[in-house]
Symmetry: C2
Subunit: 201 residues, 2 copies
DNA sequence: CATGCGATGTCAGGCACTGCCATCACGTAG
DNA sequence: CTACGTGATGGCAGTGCCTGACATCGCATG
C-alpha cells in the first residue's frame, strides 16, 4: 500500500460538494474541505487553483466532446446542424448522473461566485466552438453567434433536464430546446398567436 | 466648500481604470486605487462591493434601458423584434464613449476575474429580459432562449464595434449582428455554399 | 546503499474584505 | 449661540484565500 490514500483529487471534490451543500459555500473554509478529505489546505491548492474550481473538474472533458463532434460533423452539414451533433455527443456524459448534476446545480445556482465560474466555462466553450466553426468555413459574426446559440441551448436545456422528471432524457430535452430556438429566431410568437409587423434596431 | 472633495465614487472608478490599464489588474492593490483618488481602502469598499465591481458602474442603467424598451415594444411585435427595439434603445448610452469603451474592454478581456464579472452581468441581463418576455406572453423555453440570443447579439456586436473604425456606428453593427444571427438560426451556411442535409441531436 | 523524484506537510506572509468605533464638518432644534 | 444628530470618512483588528520556500517521507532506480 502506498504512503498516501489514493485519489486525493476526487476525495477533495467529493468533500467540497458535500460541505457546500450542507452548510453553504461561503460558510465552508478550504481548511475544512481538506480536513474532510484527510489532507491539508496547502495540498488542496496543489490540486485546484482556487476554492471554486473544485466543482468544475469535468468541464474540460465536456468541452472536448462537444467541439470534437462539431469538427467531425459532415462537411455538408449547416452550422446549426453541426451544433446539433455536438449536443448529441455530450449526452452520454450525464447518463446516470442526474442526481449528482442536481446537487451540483443547486450549489452553483445558490452562489454568485460559483455562477461566475460556471459562466466563464461556458464562455470558453463558446469561444472554442466558434473556432471549430470557423475552421469549417463559417464566417464572422456567424461563427460566434452560432456558438453562443449552441451554448444557450445547452444551458437552458440542461437546467430544464435537472428540473425534470426521470422519464425525460437529456437528449430529448436538448432537442426540444433546439427546436424552440429555431422557431424563435425565425420570428415566431411562441404563443400560438399570429404575428404582424417587425421592428428594426 | 464641503469637507470632502465631490464625486468620490467617480474618482475611484477613474483611478481604478487608469491603474488597471497601466500596471494590470492583479498588480494593482485596492489601497493604491484609493490613494490615487485621495481616499482610504476602507472607503473604497463602502462605494464598491469588491475590487471588480468598480468597473461595472453603468451595468444597472444599461439593463434598465434594455428591458424597458423590450417591455414597451408594441404588443404586436414578435419576441425577436422586441429584442431589436431593446438593442436600439441602448445605443445612445455609448455615444461619444467608444474610446472609454475600448480601454475598459481591453482591461476586462485581459483578466479572467473581470471577465467572470462581465459574464454574470450579462447573465443577469438575460434573466431580466426573459422575465420581460414572459410578461409579454412568451412561453418557456422560448423566452429564455430569445433572451440569451439577444445578449449574444449584443455581446458579439459590441465587441466588433469597439474593434471597428470610427465610421461604423454601434446601431449599425448591432443590426448587422442581428441579421447574421437570424440567418444562422434559419440554417444558412453563412459562406455562400449550398446546403444539403441536416442532423438531429 | 545512495540518489533522485513525487506527493504531501509546515510556515510565513500578502492582500481582499469586514466589523467596530472614532472623527469631523454640516444642518437643525432649542 | 449651543447642543445634538447625521453622513461620509479614517483607523484598526481580524478572518480567510492564496502563494512561495523549504522540509519530509516513501518509492523507484542505479
Amino acid at each position: 500500500m502506498g504512503r498516501w490514500q489514493p485519489n486525493a483529487r476526487g476525495r477533495l471534490a467529493e468533500a467540497a460538494l458535500a460541505l457546500y451543500s450542507e452548510r453553504g459555500y461561503e460558510q465552508t473554509t478550504v481548511a475544512e474541505i481538506a480536513g474532510r478529505a484527510g489532507l491539508t489546505e496547502r495540498t488542496f491548492f496543489r490540486h485546484y487553483a482556487d476554492k471554486r474550481e473544485v466543482l468544475f473538474d469535468g468541464s474540460g472533458a465536456l468541452q472536448e466532446l462537444f467541439v470534437d463532434a462539431v469538427t467531425g460533423a459532415p462537411r455538408s452539414a449547416a452550422p446549426i446542424d453541426a451544433l446539433a451533433a455536438g449536443l448529441a455527443a455530450i449526452c452520454p456524459m450525464f447518463a446516470d448522473r442526474r442526481e449528482h448534476a442536481r446537487r451540483r446545480q443547486a450549489v452553483v445556482m445558490a452562489n454568485p461566485e460559483l455562477l461566475e465560474r460556471e459562466l466563464i466555462k461556458l464562455a470558453s466553450l463558446s469561444a472554442t466552438l466558434a473556432d471549430a466553426l470557423r475552421r469549417r468555413g463559417v464566417a464572422e459574426p456567424a461563427a460566434s453567434l452560432t456558438a453562443e446559440a449552441g451554448v444557450a441551448v445547452f444551458k437552458v436545456g440542461f437546467e430544464r433536464w435537472t428540473a425534470a422528471g426521470e422519464e425525460r432524457e437529456l437528449s430529448q430535452v436538448l432537442q426540444e430546446s433546439l427546436t424552440a430556438f429555431r422557431a424563435v429566431a425565425a420570428g415566431g410568437r411562441a404563443d400560438s398567436a399570429p404575428r404582424t409587423g417587425p421592428a428594426a434596431p
